[in-house]
Amino acid sequence: MAPLPDRRLLLGLLFLVVVVGTLGFLLGRVLAPRPPEPPGSPVQDGGAVDATTRRIRLFFAVPNADRLQEEERTIPRAASIVEEAKRAVAELIKGPQTDLNPTIPSAVGLLQLYVDGRGTAYVDFTRDLQTKHPGGTGGELLTIYSIVDTLTANFGEIQQVKLLVEGSEILTLAGHIDTRRPFRPRYSFERVR
């Protein structure tokens, strides 16, 4: 047991630490990057051309790789959101029809997609998502956020996306970005300072 004065000193330190910590936290918030506004508004069901198809927005890489840009595509309507989300990811894998760049290696297969009650989509890919990935922080960010942004921008039910490979959580795609947690949308990787 430590003598009393030590304890008082420690509690004093605790108080000081709370004050400084709060200031530090506030400073951190001021410095923290502000999330950019998502381009356009979520596609509504009214965007459908007819009852059997719907317009969706896919996100691909701009030529210098520091941002994602949307490309419109029409997909057949499906019985459920999950089925439509699967079609959207399949279109994303097929790659862009404009001069944007693909973000997912074309050999990758989508195994499964489901959405839980809290708005997290779990997207399960074949191992090629890791083994055929070109690597690089830039490449990883583009792959991750093209999937996240495509799903969150088109499906109001999806707020965040968790990536899986063959049913399991992965640490990273190719050694950089931590993929153990779900991602929220992010549309550009521009400088923060």
Binding site: A2, V17, A61, N101, T137, L141
Partner: protein
């Protein structure tokens, strides 16, 4: 003279033993069957006929080897190397021909059974002469150790690449935790080493991991952990504590004695200032990192730049540099920051080159860890483990609260310093390189999560861009990158020490400009 006679006696003995019938046998238990194979002793080793191996494994004898389950083993008489596909493994003794047919050492039977039934299912009790098939697969085969003059090397043979990390339990004990590791029966007992560095190694099977507790003899010296492939091995080098205390760490090669001492003397680093820099060349070993259109690999480029940077820092600043790797080896992401944390590094620089799919992107960018609330837990534990505050006398709840607050403070402080370091390094790259400056960015990097210190990740070029790949092949270009990073480190060091009040502002500036002119 005496030595020669001993060798002669040895040779005669083995000649006598060779080709003598041997009453040994190997018992093989598989698929409910029991087979016994008679072995013959050749040059003191137990051999079995290749034809028997083929029969047991359902394989076919070829003119130059054996084919089992689609796997071809190519044998050459008198050569211990066996070629399997594009890899080679070594037998402890070469195949021999007797009566026109191949005979192979018993361990070849084990290899062939592995080809038939899968690695990790074949168990072999060498001394008992039994080979059997188990239900459960193991992926950690055995432990070897060897004492070198200043360190002891532990090698764990694995069947598949596994993730691992080293944790310091106390000054005298380390734990190597191997994710998803399953111990073979050969790893069921503690291994006593007692070589003056390592007392013993105790393997234990945990839930979803295997743990090797390493008991050190002396008060803890430095350790290095990495993986090698073909075959997969996890290597732990434990250095003698004495050598570590007296000299720079093992990562630092002994500096050439003459030029360093006099030049370092006038600009000797302040004792309490910035003392240790951790440099992390990304990827390595089985992880090549990004590959350029002409085949240049990220792991090689970043190792070159990292080693060049280390030399500049050591020669000009005389500061200790800890490298996460100095060779082409695999080091898991968690282990990289653990190395820096154990060395109490003042900051951590991870060096990479970038890539993007089918892109013309080019240029450099620097990153620090983004502050996302969901990322906090990994970093929190890293920093908490490193907070050496004595919290004795507090109740657990108070202790937790205090630790949490201290962590938040430290994290905020690191964040600010990390973003400053990222900016300084970016500015220096901008001065020297004539490619796009893509700015300072932030993202949730796995490798930076475990750092209990300011940490940045640099993408110094796009290897996916043919022009930049060509640049990265030139030594001169990599020298320029290393020079830019060195200049950034000098600037950051100066600011760091000035902030701590170690260097008066005026003299600090003059030191900086004097350095910059060199």
């Amino acid at each position: 003279m005496r030595k020669l006679s001993v060798i002669l006696v040895g040779m005669t003995a083995s000649l006598l033993l060779a080709h003598l019938a041997w009453p040994g046998e190997i018992e093989i238990l598989y698929e409910g069957q029991r087979k016994v194979v008679t072995t013959e002793l050749v040059s003191g080793r137990e051999y079995v006929p290749l034809a028997q191996v083929a029969k047991i494994t359902g394989g076919g004898v070829l003119r130059d080897g054996l084919r089992v389950n689609g796997v071809t083993f190519r044998l050459v008489e008198g050569e211990p190397g066996v070629v399997v596909g594009d890899t080679t493994f070594l037998l402890t003794a070469p195949p021999v021909k007797q009566r026109g047919a191949f005979w192979v050492p018993v361990e070849f039977l084990v290899r062939a059974l592995e080809a038939r039934y899968g690695e990790g299912r074949v168990y072999w009790n060498r001394s008992g002469g039994v080979v059997w098939l188990g239900k459960e697969r193991y992926n950690l085969r055995l432990l070897r150790h060897h004492a070198y003059p200043d360190y002891t090397r532990l090698v764990i043979e694995a069947l598949t690449p596994l993730n691992f990390r080293v944790q310091e339990d106390s000054n005298a004990q380390l734990s190597l935790r191997i994710e998803g590791g399953i111990l073979s029966p050969m790893l069921s007992e503690a291994v006593r080493i007692n070589d003056g560095v390592v007392e013993m190694v105790e393997p234990t099977q945990g839930q979803g991991e295997a743990i090797f507790r390493i008991h050190r003899d002396a008060f803890g010296g430095l350790t290095r952990t990495f993986a090698l492939n073909n075959p997969e091995r996890i290597v732990v080098d434990l250095y003698r504590a004495k050598a570590a205390a007296a000299q720079p760490p093992p990562e630092t090669p002994p500096a050439r004695p003459s030029p360093r001492a006099p030049s370092a003397a006038p600009a000797a680093p302040p004792v309490t200032g910035l003392r240790t820099i951790a440099i992390d060349p990304g990827h390595g070993g089985r992880d090549t990192g990004a590959i350029g259109p002409n085949g240049l690999q990220e792991k090689d480029v970043v190792l070159d730049i990292g080693l060049k940077l280390r030399r500049l820092i050591q020669e000009r600043l005389g500061i200790r540099v800890v490298m996460t790797r100095t060779e082409d080896v695999f080091v898991p992401l968690e282990e990289r920051t653990a190395i820096a944390n154990r060395a109490k590094a003042d900051f951590f620089i991870s060096i990479h080159v970038n890539a993007a799919h089918r892109s013309k992107a080019q240029g450099f960018e620097t990153y620090f860890l983004s502050r996302e609330p969901s990322d906090s837990s990994a970093r929190a534990s890293a920093i908490r483990e490193n907070l050496s505050v004595n919290l004795g006398g507090l109740r657990p709840k108070e202790e937790d609260a205090l630790r949490a607050i201290l962590w938040d403070m430290a994290n905020t402080l690191y964040l600010k310093e990390s973003s400053e370091l990222a900016q300084i390094l970016l500015d220096e790259l901008d001065k020297i390189l004539n490619v796009d400056n893509r700015g300072v960015k932030s993202a949730p990097f796995f490798v930076l999560m475990g750092a209990a210190m300011p940490a940045v990740l640099l993408e110094v070029a796009f290897i996916s861009n043919p022009k930049e790949e060509k640049n990265l092949q030139a030594e001169g270009y990599k020298d320029r990158v290393a020079e830019a990073l060195y200049a950034g480190i000098v600037r950051f060091k100066d600011r760091y020490e000035r902030r701590l009040g170690l260097v008066p502002p005026a003299s600090g500036r003059s030191v900086e400009t004097a350095k910059a002119k060199r």
